[in-house]
Symmetry: C2
Subunit: 445 residues, 2 copies
């Protein structure tokens, strides 16, 4: 059993510098916590040796040659914070194959190739931990594998993308338009110059894949996620939801039941007094349902170099303990343990919010309700109000629980009605019953 | 290094039974996670051998003699779920002195004698873990010692008592009176037949002492907690707070700065869009500020036999790992590492809510404001409204931040004014700025 631990780091951006700072300033604690004799950083891979850096890494510790890290037999543990897919994957594979343990903060890579890399880790009796890849400042993966280790997780509802949550918060609380909110997110550096992966839900989907694999010990792939971004969300939708007591969030949902597993990312209405509805600005949260523990939620910053570095170091502590324990099975190597069956569309059940423009003629309302009746779904909330300067009425309904297929059929049938001018929007509703705010004039059915 | 782990359990109520169920049904996982060869329960201390029990504990495993657990050299780890103070303390001491590791769910005991027991554990190279003692279903102690291990925690705001949170939720959302809410909590089994320790904040204070010791590596005693229960909270106070955008919660607060440490339990107004304001019913949450990670929150059930059992088992996993690692320092043995200085009253700064009945005469308002001016504090929010059938006005103010001593002085000066009939209530305000809800008629100063 090795007693002094040596570390190699791939990448020296702000996260890498944060990690080095923490490892050096908390060395005694690290040693006390893990029982290691010493913990030292041996080599750091950088792109450019000449670049001025704020950190205190000595020059002789840096290298531009990955082999200096990956082929060094003294290095027990490699930390990957370089980002990107192909090169990072190749380096991690090489490290694992030579029996080195790996800690990665790379959600894109883990979401795409996590199963493969975890299998490779297992074959080589190496650890691959990746706490920082999901909701940086929230120790959610550790909680799933340790704190809730003896529980069976049945559902996770996550707000796992800071950019879109920031935008939706501004649209909700300051009534900004989509474009204004996006511009503000860009100005503040929350949104990248190409924010497509955030806005279309892909970033959130990657994180939900990682959570679902770990929480359900399942093998879920990115293309199995039902994906609907927030690009079509309007301020009006948010406002009508608020009138019914709901807050709109971009929600990543992973659930399992006897019928199988479902993973989705889409804008969802949540009751305004649900803990997730108060997760504002760039913050993240994951709401977890466990059979024994009941409902828990973990809230914190989703990104940022210091939160991410903190998460990486907590993985480093875990790995060193595992090295010292000599345990073979890594806690985050949970993939593929159970056969993974995806839920069929007709088994995915939820309430739905639908907003229509309806011609304000006699019998219009009866036509609408007949669609619901013939599809055997009733609605539990309804707003109807005349619109300015048109012969149209605005109608917003929230259904009782039904399957996604059935709701799609209802939407289609409504669209075919002569009295329906257009379906303006539709959203899934989660998180239980919303109290309708006082003094709002609704017909409750 | 011992490879097969044997466990003794003190107490066989619902939590004890839950633990046995989990240990037996997750044995393989436990072995895989810890690298132990086997994990078995050897003896269970019960009060009455003849009592019918729902669980599946064999009779030969049970004993009414504590020595059968404490003197058995084969037992490595003792789980204490019997409750109470004196007997439990005596048993735990005996276990620790013979080098056995201990996991306890006993918050009363840990809050009162934690420092002493942890020192004893350290002297005997034994572990004493107690995750279940604070907010049963929330792995908050593990998060403080592992997930946030490399961070410096500066403040924790907790809703850590389910009974009072249930009552305040009902008073806020259903406008129940204090007595109605208490009766409902009793009817539902949330409140004990003598709920004094809950209502007066003592139960919350015990948990905050445990959190403060661990989070700040400090030595805080129960009688150092500033304590004000919820027995004087009225529905009117809650209602006026809501008009200003605040929700009332019984808040346990632990903070530290250069001036020292502060631990308090009192009813506090929180902005209604703060994550803590959505912690409703019997749920608990702890909001943590860390220098690196920023703001995080951990939410879940505060009690219940299954959540508590889950927390105990997560400690058992930790202890077994520590046994196998041979590490001497236990992660939860953090007490006494730093000199503990309590903050002086004048260094404890907050905003305050104060509600007065004022004689509705000319110059009344000027008298009020002069008190604030002479004490050098301004107020940021104000409601003034006439009262029915009296010559009085209701005045509610929220101050800017000031010290507790200064606020006490202001309250005293206000009470001495002729125009002030009475001070109805006063509360601390935490969690940042509240948005004043629309359509509420306020003078904002």
């Amino acid at each position: 059993m090795k007693k002094a631990i040596e570390i190699g780091i791939l990448g020296l951006g702000t996260v890498g510098n944060g990690i080095i700072h923490i490892l050096e300033h908390h060395k005694n604690e690290l040693i006390a916590k893990t029982g290691a004799e010493d913990v030292t950083i041996r080599k750091v891979l950088v792109r450019d040796l000449e670049k001025q850096r704020g950190g205190n890494v000595e020059k002789e510790m840096m290298t531009t040659n990955a082999e200096d890290v990956l082929d060094d037999p003294n290095i027990d543990l490699v930390i990957e914070v370089m980002g990107g897919i192909d090169e990072a994957k190749q380096y991690i594979e090489k490290a694992l194959k030579s029996g080195k343990h790996v800690v990665s903060a790379n959600k894109d890579l883990i979401a795409l190739h996590g199963d493969e890399l975890l299998t490779l880790a297992e074959e080589n009796d190496a650890e691959l931990l990746y706490e920082a890849s999901v909701a940086g400042g929230i120790p959610i993966l550790r909680t799933l594998t340790e704190g809730l280790a003896s529980d069976r997780i049945t559902k996770m509802i996550g707000i796992v993308n800071g950019t879109t949550n920031y935008m939706l918060t501004k649209m909700t609380k300051e009534e900004l338009s989509y474009d204004e909110a996006l511009q503000q997110a860009k100005d503040l550096g929350f949104a990248e110059s190409d924010p497509t992966a955030d806005l279309e839900g892909l970033d959130a989907a990657r994180k939900m894949v990682i959570l679902a694999r770990l929480g359900f010990s399942a093998s879920v792939q990115l293309d199995e996620v039902y994906l609907k971004g927030m690009t079509e969300v309007t301020a009006e939708d948010i406002d009508f939801g608020q009138q019914l007591g709901y807050t709109l969030k971009l929600i990543g949902l992973a659930s399992r039941s006897d019928e199988g597993i479902e993973v989705s990312v889409e804008p969802v209405f949540i009751p305004e007094d649900h803990p997730l509805a108060s997760v504002n600005d760039e913050y993240n949260a994951v709401y977890v349902y466990g059979e024994a523990v009941g409902e828990t939620m973990f809230y914190g910053p989703g990104a940022g170099s210091l939160p991410t570095a903190t998460a990486v170091v907590s993985d480093v502590v875990s790995v060193i303990r595992q090295i010292r324990l000599g345990t073979a099975a890594a806690p985050m190597n949970a993939a593929n343990k159970e056969d993974t069956v995806l839920k069929k569309e007709e088994d995915i059940r939820a309430k739905y919010f639908i907003r229509l423009h309806v011609h304000d003629v006699a019998g219009a309302f009866k036509s609408l309700t007949s669609v619901f009746t013939s599809n055997k779904v009733s609605f539990e909330k309804l707003i109807q109000m005349p619109m300015d300067s048109e012969e149209l009425a605005e109608v917003v309904m929230v259904t009782h629980e039904t399957s996604r297929t059935n709701f799609e059929q209802i939407a289609k049938d409504l669209e075919n009605l002569d009295v329906v001018e257009t379906i303006k929007s539709r959203y899934r509703v989660e998180g239980g019953e919303a109290d309708v705010p006082e003094q709002r004039d609704l017909a409750l059915v």
